[in-house]
Subunit: 379 residues, 2 copies
């Protein structure tokens, strides 16, 4: 399913065949939490911004409108009008970050809904069933997401359990795919590496899960509080133990610079809420750093957000107009800002792929990694 | 500029040539208050929903971002990315409905900004200058909007002043159009008939303003508290005194049924915030009456909002999905709802025009006027 076309150092240029289309990697997945993209974008708009893979959240959709309902409506692709590749997370991250009181046992996690407080149980089997009901192309294994830093002894016990949970995910996922009534019999499963900031635990866990022959391997539990340098050190340590022939997904990362550095360390898949969230606060990405469109200096600027950008927003609207929409609290401002930022991220990935195709990724990294390290051109 | 192609009773099928395109009438103008359509639609989206004329608000744009700024940005068409016909209101209605303390003199109105309370003066000349800066195709005369009911004596004095204001509007509008630096030298001016609910005053005022040879005549100050039947009676009384060869615009009206009844009484132009405002509250129009998409009954409905509708929302999304978006408070829900309702209104007008073309308007009116009288199919 995954083919590495070219490498440069540890960086890989590849493609990955999904039931709903082939994904060119490295790729940034665009987040549509509740079956819609924050800021008012639709599944159709994702095509306009160059999205290859849409990412939906299992936890949110299980709570509302319910995965059984979505299954009866023909699955999430039909429900939200996106017919391309789709990845669903396992719900694990939200169970640990959004819900209130929770109790972890060998079986799974009992937690309180962040919507109405009602108690819900989710374990590996439940997560697989929900993702099967959603009908995504890629299901993610159910894991425990721990904070950084956590005590070594706790992390060691946690990754042992997350490994046992992965074994149960693999079995249940296979069983569900084989059911005659399954929505997406070709649904794939990615395992998730954990181990906090301890390189030895990360490596041990990766070696274990690599044995289970998942369709891809994610690195979870990073970008959750540790310094960026620590994240890079963990990647340097653990990526060599991920199977060469499987795609690698760095979960929840990150800034444009983080992505370039992740690619340099052998990562193929990324996702992050940052482009849409920043957009909703008026922070827009350009190839010279980010700008805050709410800033007074843009009030009479007839130019686009970024003269180097050919997105539908930069082709048509001025900074002055966007600033006006934010000042007037017009929803259109959010939508145009999110459109631009997602286009920027998807274009960043396209430029990374072109650089890899041309054997020029290292030059690209030298040119842009520092410029796009999250700093603002005007701050 | 205006040509009546066909009539049926008092109803007229026509077209009206504007600097930015020809308008087929009867027409419903789509409201983009602050240079954007509420619910997140852009100028480009107005084409998708079949909008012929965009309506922008002089009062709002004067306050923010400022009409001088918009002029420096090339005018409102360029600023907001809409290249079709555009009408700007005079600001009068908002001065009387939105602003706080106000003082009316022969010169004009001093009022407090609803944004920050600072005091602003607006009279006929100021309104014409603002609308000239915006560069709309149709400017509206500055008038006093009175409440219904108001005392006869007050209304009589008010319409005399509104007539004198119209004389000043005509003079200033001509002067501005003739300036070499004007943005839109072909900008037209519509006069506005007032007179509250007093048929004799309405007629007297219409006879006066008809002498001033405006490019069109609006009927203002209706649908502001009086019973619907009173509005129809006033239309029955006053429309015959409006010039035959000029378009007639019923301001701020209304429900689909009000529009059908307005057409039957000789009206050519309409505008109303209702389709977008209702949409934002989940109330969606169908050819069998309106529905509330938030209603529990739509939770698992795989059908479109209206099987008779071919809008981009009905072609792609289910009621179940829309209900989910509203429940999850996703902005996309607002956008899809507004898209549907504006399409519905623009399609209503297209069907009215077709009926007139075919000499079948009376049958259309019989079939739909009661069904679309604002009642909900499910309430």
């Amino acid at each position: 399913m995954f083919q590495v076309l070219k490498t440069e150092g540890r960086a890989r240029r590849g493609h990955f065949v999904c039931p709903h289309g082939t994904v060119e990697t490295p790729v940034f997945m665009n987040v549509g939490t509740q079956g819609a993209i924050k800021g008012g974008l639709s599944g159709q708009d994702l095509k306009t911004v160059g999205c290859q893979v849409e990412l939906s959240n299992t936890y949110h959709l299980h709570l509302r409108p319910g995965d059984e309902l979505i299954r009866r409506m023909g699955g999430l692709h039909a429900f939200m009008g996106w017919d391309g590749p789709m990845l669903t997370d396992s719900g694990g991250f939200q169970v640990f970050s959004l819900s209130g009181l929770r109790k972890i046992t060998e079986e799974g996690v009992t937690f309180a809904s962040h919507l109405d407080g009602h108690r819900i149980f989710m374990g590996p089997e439940e997560s697989m069933r929900i993702q099967s009901n959603l009908g995504s192309d890629i299901a993610m294994a159910f894991d425990e997401c721990i904070e950084n830093p956590s005590p070594y002894e706790y992390v060691e016990k946690s990754i042992a359990r997350t490994y046992r949970w992965l074994e149960r995910c693999v079995a249940e996922h296979q069983r569900l795919n084989d059911l005659p009534e399954t929505l997406n019999p070709g649904q794939m499963l990615f395992g998730i590496n954990q181990g906090g900031t301890y390189a030895d635990l990360r490596i041990r866990h990766m070696q274990q899960i690599a044995q289970l022959d998942c369709d891809g391997y994610a690195i979870g539990g990073l970008a959750v509080g540790e310094p960026t340098e620590t994240m890079y050190e963990i990647l340097d340590a653990v990526v060599p133990y991920a199977p060469e022939e499987k795609p690698r997904y760095l979960m929840g990362v990150g800034t444009p610079s983080n992505i370039i550095e992740g690619v340099a360390r052998g990562i193929d898949f990324f996702d992050c809420v940052m482009p849409a969230r920043n957009a909703r606060h008026g922070r827009l990405f350009t190839w010279h750093g980010s700008i805050n469109i709410r800033n007074e200096r843009h009030k009479e600027d007839p130019g686009p957000i970024d003269p180097e950008c050919s997105c539908p927003v930069c082709r048509r609207y001025s900074r002055a107009y966007l600033r006006h929409l934010f000042a007037a609290e017009e929803i259109l401002g959010l939508r145009l800002a999110v459109t631009h930022n997602l286009w920027f991220y998807n274009t960043l990935m396209a430029r990374i792929r072109t650089a890899l195709d041309e054997g020029a990724f290292d030059a690209f990294r030298q040119r842009y990694s520092a410029v796009l390290a999250g700093r603002a051109v005007e701050d």
